[in-house]
Subunit: 118 residues, 2 copies
């Protein structure tokens, strides 16, 4: 990565961050509600904790989300200012048509999560 292309590499990185189905499912959650802790995302997506944690780290390194600690829980939320390249409303609509995301949204509404932070 040459210094000249810092900027181009940043844009590239934004798209890389969005080019994974699990990260898109996480994004869908963060579009719907202001913030989530890791264990909530683990429960809703039904995917292993280390996997979710790694994807969240990836999103954070790419500048798409920020996080803060609240007791034992790490909360994650979107940084919308860094996503001006994306038509969020259209993305949301497209995501909502995907089977796995429909399921996620159902589990989100029900809210009977196994983790203590709900």
């Amino acid at each position: 990565m040459t210094l000249d292309n810092m900027k181009l590499d940043n844009i590239t990185q934004l798209f890389k961050a969005l080019s994974d189905p699990i990260r898109l499912r996480i994004l869908n959650l963060l579009i719907t509600k202001d913030s989530f802790c890791v264990c909530e995302i683990v429960d809703i997506l039904g995917i292993g904790q280390s996997t979710i944690s790694r994807h969240l780290a990836y999103l954070k390194n790419s500048g798409l989300v920020e996080s803060w600690r609240e007791g034992v829980w790490m909360h994650y939320s979107l940084i919308k200012e860094n996503m001006t390249i994306i038509e969020m409303e259209n993305l949301k609509l497209q995501l909502e048509q995907c089977d796995s995301i429909i399921e996620d949204n159902k589990r989100l509404k029900k809210g009977n999560l196994a983790c203590s932070n709900e």
Copy 2:
């Protein structure tokens, strides 16, 4: 890739297609002018023909561009309807600030290409 997630995989694939600096430079050209043939892109970007050809095939498989033959030349152009998730105007603005893309646009304006189709 399960059938259920066809749609999510398509969205993922769109972003994958955008997550490479060379493909973004190609995209920048196709935003600026209606269509390009392969040899023009090769000349403007100064990158090997096989590399460009492979990236164009990738963009095509991802549904971002279409192509047609005109004599010896293959022309490529954007399929804008498939990019409604992207804020094209903002993407354009961001791309135009990148050093390598500034250079591309200079060579595009000059227009003194080596290939016979200019």
